[in-house]
């Protein structure tokens, strides 16, 4: 570590950014799936599931992600449920994001006019077909902006997973600074550069996706 120069920081940060990217993208994916399923279940008012999902969404929305992570990483092993820090971060972020995604997708579903559902019924579409061909595409298209915001939020939230020892960007930055205080400035620059390298293309891709998806919106 002693002879490390500014230049040697680049591979370290590249690897850390890779970790952030992997954890972020997998939790966005899982969060989306959780949100979609939970949103549809809420929409159909499935008897037992509805209060459970409601409790889940409100619980995760109204507690700090930091403490959720501590609870799952340090608390659950006491009742013999143990995860490594990668899995644990993905679990925390997926559940957290799932709660937000559920909210977004549910409001997208509620915005669908009732006569469409009646029409689908009149045309003899089964519930599965109605869901797959009518509800899901439209709800995604109306809530895509919120979904994108949540994805960015989750990507940023990966940095809070530093506390459960996930070797992501902020974790590495502080590991280096604690050994070499003279590298503070380059480390700070590299931290911000790595975040920009992830977030700028991501925001671009997401807004591109938003335009593509909303292109087919009914009556737009």
């Amino acid at each position: 570590m002693d002879q490390y120069s500014t230049f040697d920081l680049i591979p370290i940060f590249a690897r850390a950014a890779g970790t952030t990217l992997i954890v972020a993208s997998s939790s966005i994916l899982f969060a989306f799936v959780i949100g979609l399923l939970a949103g549809i279940a809420l929409f159909y008012k499935v008897p037992v599931l509805k209060p459970v999902i409601y409790a889940y969404v409100e619980f995760f929305r109204n507690t700090p992600s930091l403490i959720q992570a501590y609870f799952i990483f340090y608390g659950l092993p006491k009742v013999s449920v143990q995860f490594d820090s990668h899995t644990c971060s993905i679990i925390v972020l997926s559940l957290l994001g799932g709660a937000y995604m559920c909210e977004a997708i549910h409001s997208g579903l509620k915005a669908i006019p009732n006569n469409q559902l009646e029409l689908a019924k009149a045309m003899g579409l089964s519930r599965l077909h109605t869901t797959v061909h009518l509800l899901i595409p439209q709800s995604i298209s109306t809530s895509i902006a919120a979904i994108n915001n949540n994805s960015i939020f989750l990507t940023k939230e990966v940095s809070a997973m530093k506390i459960i020892l996930l070797p992501e960007i902020v974790y590495q930055a502080f590991a280096i600074i604690s050994l070499r205080t003279d590298l503070t400035l380059p480390v700070a620059v590299m931290t911000i550069a790595s975040y920009l390298a992830i977030l700028l293309p991501m925001t671009y891709l997401l807004s591109l996706a938003e335009r593509k998806i909303r292109f087919a919106e009914f009556g737009a």
Binding site: R61, T63, A160, I177
Partner: protein, 230 residues
């Protein structure tokens, strides 16, 4: 029962409450300050000055794209490193949350101000209101009604984010509970305290934040019915 460490939590409960008070102080002070600064920033963002709006836009995006935990660390260690003086975690967290909240509220206010129909500005001018009167009597009441739900939402986000300040050594609830956990382990290595303690904390935060988010939702409905037909 002993293994759950509930007795430790009960004994240390006053200390937890102290931590709670600190968290509420940080959230409360920065919340009030961000409302004050946020309205000013929001009005500044609508002005037609190109440089000002570019600078404010960059600051807003910086606070949006960079997680508060990074800002806390940058200011906490950065200021100490740059000026060679020890920094106070409590002050730094208030500064960070105030800046963050001000830009968030500023953007809400800007968004609403720009969405107001032009005739409101013109009508106020036509009835002979001065610029100040227009802002105070015409625009401000509408902005308050419309932005209140999001502002309450911001309050819950601020309260949730205060758990981060434990990372820069402020003795709030999370930090206190970590020391409770350490003491409990020291006395009883097989204790399950980290399970119960964090669960208690989660419930604690939930009890504070859940009513606030219900309030925000109620206000949203109310505001929508109060200001129909912008």
């Amino acid at each position: 029962m002993r293994n759950l460490g509930l007795d430790f939590i009960a004994t240390a409960f006053p200390r937890l409450l102290d931590g709670f008070v600190i968290a509420v102080q940080i959230a409360g002070v920065s919340f009030l300050l961000s409302i004050a600064f946020g309205f000013v920033l929001g009005v500044l963002m609508t002005l037609k000055n190109r440089w000002l709006s570019v600078v404010l836009r960059v600051c807003l995006e910086a606070f949006r794209l960079i997680h508060p935990v990074i800002w806390l660390f940058i200011l906490f260690y950065g200021l100490a490193y740059a000026f060679d003086t020890p920094t106070n975690g409590y002050t730094i967290s208030i500064i960070v949350f105030t800046l963050w909240g001000s830009f968030e509220i500023g953007d809400l206010v800007r968004g609403y101000l720009t969405s107001l129909p032009r005739h409101q500005f013109e009508s106020s001018m036509a009835v002979g209101l001065t610029r100040r009167q227009m802002y105070v009597h015409v625009l401000l009441p509408q902005i308050i009604i419309r932005t209140l739900p999001s502002v309450v939402n911001l309050a819950t986000r601020l309260i949730k984010t205060t758990s981060l300040v434990s990372l820069i050594g402020v003795q709030e609830m999370l930090k206190v509970s970590q020391s409770i956990i350490q003491v409990a382990y020291y006395n009883n290595p097989t204790s399950m305290i980290s399970f119960t303690m964090y669960l208690v904390l989660l419930i604690f935060y939930f009890i504070i934040c859940f009513p606030l988010s219900l309030l925000a939702r109620y206000m949203e409905k109310k505001a929508a019915s109060l200001t129909t037909g912008t």
